[in-house]
Symmetry: C2
Subunit: 287 residues, 2 copies
């Protein structure tokens, strides 16, 4: 009984100290709290192993470098350790790094800061995307009002939170963001469409996150004979697509069967979306 | 001696509990920490009184409403109390409100959250803008990569921090942000220019914060016979202005005497900047 309770308490690591997540507190002067001055990663764990770990760590290093946070060494051992400490079979790892703790001044020039490294791992008692994968989801379109460096995985996610909340509020599951009439990405996903057998996803730019599943699928779908193009997708192309699907570490690949009031593929799961999801799950087993 | 030490310890209030600021910790699940999901205000205190309190509280209410945080009552009594508890004569108050504490999911729809209200007051042992006001400052121009709702005073300030740090790094004191060739504002200030006796400041939009000193000065300078226009300012107009000055609660009004490599007003303080500053200080005495 006690063992069961202990097992269910999520353990976090903060600067390598292990603490139950719900008891972990941080200084109010952490720049993540005052400025959103930090970056993060979410990793999916299959069979106790973090999937695409190298890709996530490379992206984290890129985000850190882009905003000038240095002094973070390799986190691989700590990630494996937090997965193990939480006895994760199926689950996820959250990693967040802030610039450090200091009295509130915008400029970090000449501040001598030690980054704060937060990490926790949570088990999935059931596959979080299972139901959505089975039925497909509804999406809305929403103006992309995020900042100009969405290629950096920063924790400044208020615009994402507002868009996703708006979707949920009107009975949809995701908001697909539109900037100057082009699809950028979802509020917490990348977006693919299929039209006349051609798969398209928006090209990398400062307006989209280089999603690990996005890149994985571009490669894997190409290898399986699909024509995959990284090209702009207009809002009309989105609404008139044969298929739409979104990807993320947690969601894997999920068919979108309705966008705004437009049914996609007669509100059925499309074959490419199903195949994309199968490719991720298959790779996760072999990782 | 003990009294002196106690006096110097900044007291904060978190959901009405009084704690020394440097001992105050918050849950890692506070949405301000994980998402930058919160808004804030900085008030200047003159002679123990918060200046333009009503204007700041109105703006805070507007920010909260814009991002859908409700349930925050009047903060006026608490602000006066934290000023008093910290024995502030000259100083500032920081107020930050996050959406609340909950396990990390983007969407706040259907979450039943209690906002977290942080407040602290710090004394100024010397006037923080005194030296800059005496000498004027150097500014750089910097691309405005912030989100599309800068009229909301959100704590997602990474773009501002990066711009201000860049300015400091190359020996300037402020970064003036440029969006599509027009000045929006400074990294933590509003911007005014003077050309041929006409004062200009960018019009209110979703790209600039409705600064309390900005509005105060539009009114006060107009009343003193100046022609004040709320109109777009191109980057060239900025560089070729007769005067440039920035305004904020803490900085009041500060002359900019160099922008990038362009001297402004032969690197001397201009008469309008001086007058603007005098008008704020005069009003602060009579508030």
């Amino acid at each position: 009984m006690v063992k069961q309770m202990l097992k269910e308490k999520v353990l976090a690591s903060f600067n390598k100290q292990i603490v139950p997540l719900d008891e972990l507190t941080i200084s109010v002067n952490d720049r993540a709290y005052l400025f959103g001055d930090g970056v993060y990663e979410v990793l999916r764990v299959y069979k106790s192993r973090p999937f695409l770990l190298v890709e996530h760590m490379n992206r984290l290093a890129r985000s850190l470098s882009a905003i000038g946070i240095s002094g973070v060494g390799s986190l691989t051992a700590d990630i494996l350790s937090i997965i193990s400490l939480n006895h994760i079979d199926e689950g996820m790892v959250y990693v967040q790094i802030s610039r450090g703790t200091a009295p509130r001044v915008h400029s970090f020039h000449n501040l001598s800061l030690q980054p704060n490294i937060l990490m926790y791992a949570k088990p999935f008692y059931e596959h979080p995307a299972a139901m959505d994968a089975k039925t497909g989801i509804n999406a809305i379109t929403h103006e992309d009002i995020r900042w100009g460096r969405c290629d950096i995985k920063s924790i400044g996610l208020l615009a994402n939170c507002l868009a996703q909340s708006k979707a949920h509020q009107i009975g949809a599951q995701e908001a697909i963001l539109i900037r100057e009439n082009n699809v950028t990405e979802g509020s917490s996903s990348n977006v693919f469409i299929v039209k006349n057998k051609i798969i398209k996803t928006p090209p990398l730019s400062q307006h989209i996150l280089p999603g690990t599943r996005r890149q994985f699928l571009i490669n894997a779908l190409s290898e399986h004979g699909y024509q995959v193009e990284e090209d702009n997708i207009t809002k009309d192309e989105l609404l008139l697509a044969d298929e739409v699907f979104i990807t993320s570490s947690i969601k894997e690949a999920i068919a979108v069967i309705k966008v705004d009031q437009h049914p996609i593929n007669n509100q059925n799961l499309g074959p490419v979306a199903k195949h994309a999801r199968a490719l991720i799950l298959q790779a996760s087993l072999n990782s």
